[in-house]
Amino acid sequence: MLEIKNLHVKIADEDAEILKGIDLVVPQGEVHAIMGPNGSGKSTLAYVIAGREDYEVTDGDILWNGNSILDMDPDERAAKGVFLAFQYPMEIPGVAGLTFLRTATNAVRKKRGQDELTTPQFMKLVKEKAASLNIDVDMLKRPVNVGFSGGEKKRSEILQMAMLDPSLCVLDETDSGLDIDALRIVSDGVNALRGPDRAMLVITHYQRLLNHIVPDKVHVLAHGKIRKSGGKELALELEKSGYAEFQKDAA
């Protein structure tokens, strides 16, 4: 279970608060969606869960399965099952996709006390997962994300997620930039990971994604706080009325 309690966050060297007291609980087996206007702090929340150092938590806590993760390094969190699919996946020139995937997969397996995968085992797994996401394995011989289209980068994030077998998946606008078919393929990939042991936080601007990945709950994040929570029908309401209501009471 993910528990976020009264989370206050600012940029390390600046004064302005970005997150101003977030309270959020995502139980195992559930998928929650977060929607909200640009600049409201959605990516910030995602980064802070993953452990990015540019942000400073000034108050509150994040618990994963009952333990605070705030003092853990990003790689330790990954080993504990935290995975963030980035809104803007990074290009890593000079590091082949397969090398990267294999290093990452074996690093988390090792920390989880599992056997590291041999090359044939690893290749078999990659081929299987890549095929289900319609990714050409040849693409993974190229440096990570270099020269990939926007949609290809997003699919490559989901492949990494599938390989790392996380228990807390945070998807930051994974749907933006995907064409209609890719959206379905990626959604199928995410749905395949849905299960009683996993919690998911899906950040999106579009109700459309939530037709594919049907959420248990929808939250509206505006001006650094959760302003409203509801069922999946909340996304439909927002589609009609926009965020005007939440802009008002921000002051």
Binding site: A79, F86, G94
Partner: protein
């Protein structure tokens, strides 16, 4: 006008020491007088210092604190096993090798089997031929200004003279291994000559290495003259991994004839003070030149790469890519001068120098210099120096890769982009292993 400058102790020793060993250096009367003339040229100018533009970042006069004695005969304890160990990862390649220890050819450590269309002979032997003085004497344009080259001509003891017959396609890379050995600090002075006939193809790897347990200190002055025949393809690699506080001064003087392809790669790591100078001249049209390299330096090491690319004729292509990893108080220098002469229309030149800075106290000086006198040319250059990208580091760590490993992966990928330039697979992979070993030594000392 040259201002009279006081001679340093080192300069005095370099001049006075010559008389003591002149008679033991190879070569008869004409060679002896050519050596004496070279020494006189050196004595006139002394060591280059920072007020000479090309040496402004490497003040040899200040940095070279002593002149170690030149080894007049090789030391004989070194075994084949020592040589193989000294060569590191490349030692595992089973390819022909020409081995010199402390500046002298050692037949029993060499193995030149299986070389077809190539003749390899010791430079000392060339110095006893009829035309010996000509063999020693450098070309006018190289002779005049360079003090390090003048010292090379005065003191050169031995080296490899490689002739590749026209049309020969030599598969295996030929290694020329300069080994430093023995507990006493010494100076070695080597001269290599490579002549590749028309349409021939060969890979030559020059190595500068030390047998483990050798003196921490040492000096090397090496010069290699290269003639790349028309239509020939030459891959010329230099691997300098000598350990300890050695002073390594190297010159490559390269002439490239019509439609030749010359690819140079220089790997330098773990050297106290290195100056790698390359002068490459386009002698015929349609030549393709690629000079690349990787340098890795820590502690107070100082690695200087100075290129002089001379587009003297039309339709030449030149590419330079140098990448350096600098740590602690290390200093990296890249000077890339490209001259496009008035006749050299349709020249296409690109240059890039990049440094990855691992500490706050390391320094990278980059000085690209384009002198273009022709109007129909495409030339560009760039230079960057940056620390490891924190965003990339976070991305890797968010995927579960621990900090040290993530750093190593990013440094490797940075330097790997340069090492990728090496065409020969075995050599390329061996250099990647060398770079990884250098990095591994880093994370060990940081713990």
């Amino acid at each position: 006008m040259s201002v009279a400058v006081m001679k340093t102790k080192t300069e005095t020793a370099l001049v006075d020491g010559f008389g003591e060993i002149a008679d033991t250096l190879p070569g008869g009367g004409s060679v002896k007088s050519a050596r004496a003339a070279a020494l006189a040229r050196f004595a006139g100018n002394g060591l280059p210092h920072r007020r000479i533009e090309e040496w402004k970042y490497t003040d040899l006069k200040g940095l070279m604190k002593e002149a170690l004695p030149v080894v007049v005969d090789g030391e004989s304890k070194t075994t084949i096993a020592d040589v193989i160990v000294a060569m590191g990862a490349i030692g595992r390649l089973e390819v022909p090798r020409f081995v010199l220890v402390n500046g002298h050819y050692r037949k029993e450590l060499s193995n030149l089997d299986g070389l077809n269309g190539v003749s390899v002979a010791p430079f000392a032997q060339a110095l006893s031929s009829d035309d010996a003085a000509a063999a020693l004497e450098l070309r006018e344009e190289d002779r005049g200004s360079d003090a390090v080259l003048a010292l090379n001509s005065a003191y050169a003891t031995d080296g490899a003279v490689i002739d590749v017959a026209s049309g020969s396609n030599v598969d295996a890379p030929l290694l020329v291994v300069h080994v430093r050995a023995g507990p006493t600090p010494r100076r070695s002075v080597g001269r290599n000559q490579i002549r590749v006939g028309e349409g021939a193809a060969i890979t030559i790897v020059e190595m500068f290495v030390a047998v483990p347990g050798s003196a921490a200190d040492g000096q090397m002055n090496t010069a290699t003259e290269v003639q790349v025949g028309a239509g020939a393809t030459v891959d010329h690699v230099k691997v300098t991994t000598d350990l300890g506080q050695v002073t390594h001064l190297a010159n490559w003087l390269v002439d490239m004839h019509g439609n030749a392809t010359y690819r140079a790669f220089q790997y330098t790591a773990g050297v106290g003070l290195a100056r790698n100078q390359v002068r490459a001249t386009f002698k015929g049209e349609g030549v393709k030149l690629d000079i690349s390299g990787a340098f890795l330096a820590r502690n107070s090491e100082h690695i200087d790469t100075t290129l002089f690319v001379d587009h003297a004729v039309p339709e030449g292509e030149s590419r330079e890519l140098f990448k350096g990893v600098l740590d602690d108080n290390a200093r990296g220098i890249f000077q890339g001068k490209v001259v496009v002469r008035p006749d050299a229309q349709k020249t296409d030149g690109k240059q890039m120098a990049q440094a990855l800075m691992l500490s706050e106290t390391c320094e990278f000086d980059s000085k690209p210099e384009l002198e273009i006198y022709a109007d129909d040319v495409v030339c560009g250059h760039g230079s960057t120096s940056a620390a490891i990208d924190e965003d990339l580091l976070f991305y890797l760590r968010a995927r579960g890769i621990p900090l040290d490993e993530a750093r190593a992966l990013l440094i490797q990928s940075f330097i790997g982009e340069a090492i990728e330039k090496v065409q020969h697979e075995g050599v390329r992979e061996a250099l990647m292993i060398e770079a990884e070993a250098w990095l591994a030594a880093r994370s060990k000392t940081n713990k």
